[in-house]
């Protein structure tokens, strides 16, 4: 059994909005094992990016309040760490890759110098060693033309290459945990596929645990071992990916899966939209947040918040938060 790389208990984030206080992340708990790729899935506004920012300690106190029972990275509790302590962790034991690769790289320095800077800082290498390691890292990330890339500036590279460079930089210190926030959404399908391959290797080769934040259910199916589905700040389902897709327990998950277009060589499979609108985080309904859009909702759903329980008839690690979960679609897992 793998060790736990990251363990989060009851994380909440409250932000100040024009309409009052909004609980954008509502007491979520999960854990990330070494070497595994965990998908944090949801649509815009569900709180997944804020969760990532909160884990990295990037939410300033002027913007909102972050509370948690604990956030254990190995044996350190990040929730109790000072800013100085967090700075030592960031980029070191826990790294993050953002969605937009262009703004994450400094436009006035060449790729080579930025890579070397990271290596000299985190691995204590000298200039020559750092240069050699940089080239090695680029080649291992599948970029054949490493010499040219070392000398290039960010704007001279394509979006896909920039993102791969960033992933290489984030991995420079061999972090325990890598958080990737929509790393491939701004990229072409073929580049995206390559980046996902890169992620797959990272987990295997270095034992890095990856928290992959995305809205793309196709990406999750291709790369993730387990996935968490978030809706309005809460985790509504958590399962190994196979079980999640073949037998979703929560109506929202099922709705999402029905709305995703799939290529079908036998003919078009029509997508179905989820009725209703996502509620505003500052104006959330009582009880289950999804009740207003759910076909099986009743009074209990509208008053009582569903707790997290194991899903019937499925793998014991498949959890859901619903008063009327969907029956199991397969017999065995």
């Amino acid at each position: 059994m793998n060790k736990t790389a990251l363990s989060v208990r009851n994380l909440s984030v409250t932000l100040q909005t024009g309409m009052g206080l909004a609980r954008v992340v509502d007491s979520i708990s999960f854990s990330l094992q070494e070497g595994e790729i965990l998908g944090l899935v949801g649509e815009s506004g569900c709180g997944k990016s804020i969760t990532a920012a909160a884990l990295m300690g990037l939410i300033p106190s002027s913007a909102g309040i972050v509370k948690s029972d604990q956030i254990m990275l190995g044996d350190k509790n990040l929730a109790r760490l000072s800013e100085a302590g967090m700075r030592r962790i960031r980029g070191n034991e826990m790294s993050m890759v953002f969605q937009d690769p262009l703004t994450a790289l400094d436009p006035v320095f060449s790729i080579g110098s930025q890579l070397s800077m990271v290596l000299r800082r985190h691995r204590g290498e000298n200039r020559r060693q750092a240069r050699r390691s940089s080239i090695e890292m680029l080649e291992r990330a599948g970029m054949a033309d490493s010499q040219r890339i070392m000398q290039s500036y960010p704007h001279q590279l394509s979006g896909g290459m920039r993102q791969r460079v960033l992933i290489a930089m984030a991995m420079a210190s061999r972090p325990r945990v890598l958080i990737a926030d929509e790393p491939s959404s701004s990229l072409d399908v073929s580049t995206q596929a390559r980046i996902l391959e890169q992620f797959g290797e990272l987990g295997q080769r270095f034992g890095t645990a990856i928290l992959l934040i995305t809205h793309d259910l196709g990406v999750v199916a291709q790369v993730c071992d387990r996935a968490l589905i978030m809706y309005c700040g809460r985790i509504v389902e958590e399962a190994p990916v196979k079980s999640l897709y073949s037998s979703p327990a929560h109506p929202y998950t099922a709705g999402l899966l029905a709305a995703v277009p799939r290529i079908n060589s036998a003919g078009v499979q029509r997508v179905r939209a989820i009725p209703g609108l996502v509620p505003h985080p500052a104006d959330l309904p009582d009880g289950c947040h999804f009740a207003g859009r759910c076909a099986s909702a009743d009074t209990q759903c509208r008053t009582l918040v569903p707790g997290i329980q194991a899903a019937d008839g499925r793998n014991s690690t498949h959890l859901q938060a619903c008063h009327h979960p969907l029956p199991s679609a397969s017999h065995e897992d």
């Binding site: 815009s44 290459m161 196709g218 199916a221 277009p261």
Partner: protein, 326 residues
């Protein structure tokens, strides 16, 4: 309805962009592309970044002048139209952009935005224009009270629906949607897909739907064209493309799309990175990454081969690839 004269006809279109980049002073975004769109049908144009698909859309809308070839709207050359004829054409072809954040004028209310094309084209009497705006909003599933709001008060999905309402409000015959769904959430996207299909069915509006997302294209398109680095690789009726794609690029695109099914994990077929559109490869532009490239592919440019019959309304299945030389 004339089924023989296409609504929109692109013939050998070439579009060059001036650029300043180390001695090169233009970029050929579109390099000899031809296809037809028939009234009331949805044509899906697939391409990744650098394929030239957006430049194509911009050229049709006369935001950029064509360098060569023609764009024919109901048989008339669109790029050379002037005066009242141009006005009429502009009314009949509308465009919806990708980025909902930037597609609506920030300091104008939704009402003002919707009415602007009506005022400009003198549609209806002034008093009736607000009613038309309300009806347009309702047909995209938004309430009348949205008229008073400003773009920043709406979500991405709502903004995109307003953009669609604005495109429809002049009762066009063709709507060009340039990656219009790409930045939307899955559930919103599903709703707008249904909306587009509705519009086609109830109002007979034709669509040129441009996207890199093949799965979405399958939901919508009657015919599909696949572009790569400014050239057309394959055109086919939708069912044929998804059943028996002929071109290696189309096949690898279909393979690369992440399937929302963990039971189907696929290795990557495409080699290398996409070349820059500033220096496209010679002859067949795809040969540098093609898993089935042969000697001739780097010397001779493939010409169009028809490999499927064209029905009355259907597009023929055409491919630009040496593998199909028989």
């Amino acid at each position: 309805m004339k089924t023989d004269l296409p609504l929109l006809s692109i013939r050998d279109l070439v579009v060059n962009y001036p650029v300043s980049n180390r001695g090169r002073n233009f970029l050929t975004a579109v390099n000899g592309v031809s296809f037809d769109i028939h009234a009331g049908s949805i044509f899906g144009l697939v391409g990744e970044s650098g394929s030239g698909k957006s430049s194509l859309a911009h050229t049709i809308m006369r935001l950029i002048p064509p360098t060569g070839g023609e764009v024919l709207f109901k048989g008339e050359n669109l790029a050379q139209m002037k005066g009242p004829m141009l006005q009429k054409a502009r009314q009949k072809i509308q465009l919806v952009f990708q980025d909902p954040m930037a597609s609506l004028s920030p300091r104008r209310s939704i009402l003002q935005t919707l009415i602007e094309p009506l005022d400009h084209f003198h549609v209806d009497k002034a008093v009736q224009r607000q009613t038309r705006a309300v009806r347009a909003l309702e047909s995209v599933g938004l309430e009348a009270e949205v008229l008073q709001r400003f773009p920043h008060e709406l979500s991405g999905g709502q903004k995109q629906r307003v953009a669609l309402a604005r495109a429809m409000i002049t009762e066009p015959e063709l709507i060009i949607a340039d990656e219009a769904l790409s930045s939307l959430d899955v559930s919103v996207q599903a709703r707008i897909i249904q909306l587009i299909l509705d519009l086609r069915q109830k109002q007979g509006i034709a669509f040129l739907f441009i996207s890199h997302d093949l799965a979405v294209i399958q939901q919508l398109a009657d015919s599909v064209g696949v572009m790569y680095l400014g050239k057309m690789m394959e055109i086919a009726p939708a069912e044929r493309l998804f059943q028996q794609a002929a071109h290696p690029y189309t096949r690898s695109l279909l393979d690369a799309v992440p399937v929302p099914d963990p039971a189907h994990r696929k290795p990557l077929a495409l080699k290398g990175d996409a070349p820059s559109s500033l220096t496209p490869p010679a002859a067949c532009v795809f040969h540098t990454r093609c898993p089935r490239a042969e000697e001739q592919c780097s010397h001779i440019e493939p010409i169009k081969r028809q490999i499927g019959e064209a029905g009355m309304k259907n597009t023929a299945h055409n491919v630009w690839c040496h593998l199909w030389n028989e």
